[in-house]
Amino acid sequence: MLAVILALVVVPLAAGIASLTASPRTAAAVTMTSGIASFGLVLALIPAAAHRTLGYGPYVRVDAISVIFMLATGFLYAAVAVYSAGYVRKETEGEGPAAARRYARRFYALFNVFGWSMLVAPMMNSLALLWIAVEVTTVVSALLVALENSDAAVEAAWKYVLIASAGLGLALLATIFAYFAGAQVLGQHYDLALNSILPVGGRLPHTPVRLAFMLAVLGYGTKVGLFPVHTWLPDAHSEAPTPVSALLSGSLLAVSFYAILRYYQIAAAALGSAFPRDVLLAFGVASLLLAALYLLDQRDLKRLLAYSSIEHMGILAIGVSFGAPVALAGVMLHVLAHAAAKGNAFMGAGVLVIKFGSKQISAQRAALDLLPWSGPLFLLAVLALSAMPPFGIFRSEFQIVAGGFGSHSYAAAAVLVVLVTVAFFGLTASTTSMVFRSRRPAGGRAAPAAEPATPAVRPSPGDDRRPGGPGSPEPVGTAGVTVLERAGTGRVLTRSEPSAWMVVPVLAGIAVLLVLGLHPPGELAQLISRAVTQLGGAA
């Protein structure tokens, strides 16, 4: 197993370095290989981690909880690596070869390092190293958010790096107080290792542990996107390149949640689980409430999905707060299912944005018609996100709610169900309008005001499908504007997929969601039940 872990530490980092010098095509291939290899390596860890905790020296420790979060990252890293091959080519289409090369080089190098940092974080034995790994994820992803180099992207990146770093400052204070608590029992020279602090949890002094847990929830919670420190999240998710949004949302938030779980373990051992559970319940319900309300009125597709991430992180926090084994098992499954579903949703959204040339929901319609694969797949992804059976999130949320009722948290479980339903309305209302709304604007009216006005006839050499031109299947609106132009270009949209690379990983995601929802494999179930035991799954 040591070889597997070493390979996980080396492969994505090497891919990142290799991408710095390679041509865009090679870099895409290297990234894809690294992503798929990493996912395979994490899968290889499952059987061992389902039965014992793997520890190597003072710095590496892999247990069932780690592997679950690494699985989420590993899968998304692989899926999004494949997706990026199509995305980067589309994104750099209109640019000169030098600019395209520069973009691809930066994108792939940072992307691999980002994946690496998220895979390494859950392997860290020491809370200090965990903090460092999470900080690395922040700075790398901030550069990725700024990659588009538009006004909005730079603004989002600045907000992100400042707010997240300030939050991580609090998390560093938490680390220091955790050290102080441990030092009272283990002596001054210990290295914050989980495998030394967890066994003595019951003897830790209360005040520093309480302080450390609160600071950790607030600090790492900034990166998880818990209310009220979520404000960077919708901006960064909406302005980042779409493959990065998928990783941010499905994987980065989960990795930060992993850090909170480690502090939860320590706090539960030292203080009993009541205090940490109450704290998580409060943050979880507040986040879920905020997200559910914001989901009802979103005009930007990627922001819609970002708020849905806040919703799901709230559900995770509430699930842990229930404390019942079945709820904790639901939380672990939810981490995996959310990664797959949110990854799919963002990948689908990326295709829609490329197709329609706008992130505005009002600019997108008839996706089912225009995108023979991505349209239906996006719809399925949103249904999966809204916890429709037979997908994985249905199973996980069902377990969480069942755990809530089982542990007599009736009010919280009821609130959870109501708010998830509100979120469902918000998500599906926007999505159905994008997917099903007819191609033709009602009554031949002009485009909605939110869209950039486009002249009906624009000379575009080599494109005979000009609106109103010969052979154009599209009607021209009374104001001389058709809705089904690609925003800002004046090109009429036809039924086609931008790239096959952007469809295949989504199919894989659907397969994963179905497997998780219908019948999780035995080894995975064992892994989850071991993780639940480690989290102290007794109510």
Binding site: I132, E135, E155, A157, Y179, Q188, D235
Partner: protein, 227 residues
């Protein structure tokens, strides 16, 4: 509480250094030039190295000498150098958008920060966390510094002050770490410091990107994204 006793030389020295760090934090609140802000930051970082040396000498913790040297090399020399280099001309000239970037007036800002500092001081003091290594008042001062650093990031509307606010927040946490976690293994401290250096590089790159687009370091026009 014990009856008030005169602090010994060691305690007095440690507390004075911590208090000076807090004063420098207040200095950053109202600096108008990046150059001066970076100088204040470097001075604050130098003080923390001095404190580490004082603790190392008095309490016989040889690790802390190495930490002091490393911290000085990175925070007093490397970080200011990196920030200035990456900001180029912007860092030397009149720093557009930095002077007068207050949300509140200067007087209100300082008064508010004094309130914050007092709040932080008494909160951390009330925790009753005593360290075998350093005087407890230093921890309370670190708490005050954390809050003032947050205040600095909030009231100043320019990227340079906000970044300096974050860097000095890290200094405040280092101070707290010296008090309650002086025995933290050197290798972890080293990792923290290099991590900070990476963060500084990224901050500076983003500041440069912002300056290139907005022709100013002010964040007043960063209003596209909300809700």
């Amino acid at each position: 509480m014990d009856p008030v006793q005169a602090p010994g030389v060691y305690q007095g020295a440690a507390n004075v250094i911590a208090a000076l760090m807090l004063l420098l934090e207040f200095g950053m609140l109202r600096q108008a030039l990046i150059r001066d802000q970076i100088r204040l930051y470097a001075a604050q970082s130098a003080l923390i190295s001095v404190l580490a040396i004082v603790i190392a000498a008095d309490r016989g913790l040889p690790d802390l000498y190495a930490l002091a040297a490393l911290s000085a090399a990175l925070k007093v020399v490397a970080v200011p150098l990196v920030v200035r280099r990456l900001l180029g001309r912007t860092g030397h000239d009149e720093s557009p958008g930095v002077a007068g970037s207050y949300t509140l007036g200067v007087a209100n800002t300082v008064l508010g920060s004094i309130g914050l500092a007092a709040f932080g001081f008494f909160c951390f003091g009330a925790l009753g966390i005593h360290s075998p290594v350093a005087p407890a008042a230093a921890l309370a001062i670190a708490g005050a510094m954390v809050l003032v650093a947050f205040g600095l990031m909030i009231v100043r509307r320019d990227v340079a002050s906000q970044a300096i606010g974050f860097f000095s927040l890290e200094n405040a946490i280092s101070l707290a770490a010296l008090v309650v976690a002086a025995g933290l293994p050197l290798i972890l401290e080293t990792a923290f410091l290099f991590d900070l250096l990476v963060a500084v590089v990224v901050f500076a790159m983003l500041m440069r990107a912002h300056h290139a687009r907005a022709e100013s370091l002010s964040t007043a026009d960063l209003t596209q994204l909300r809700g």
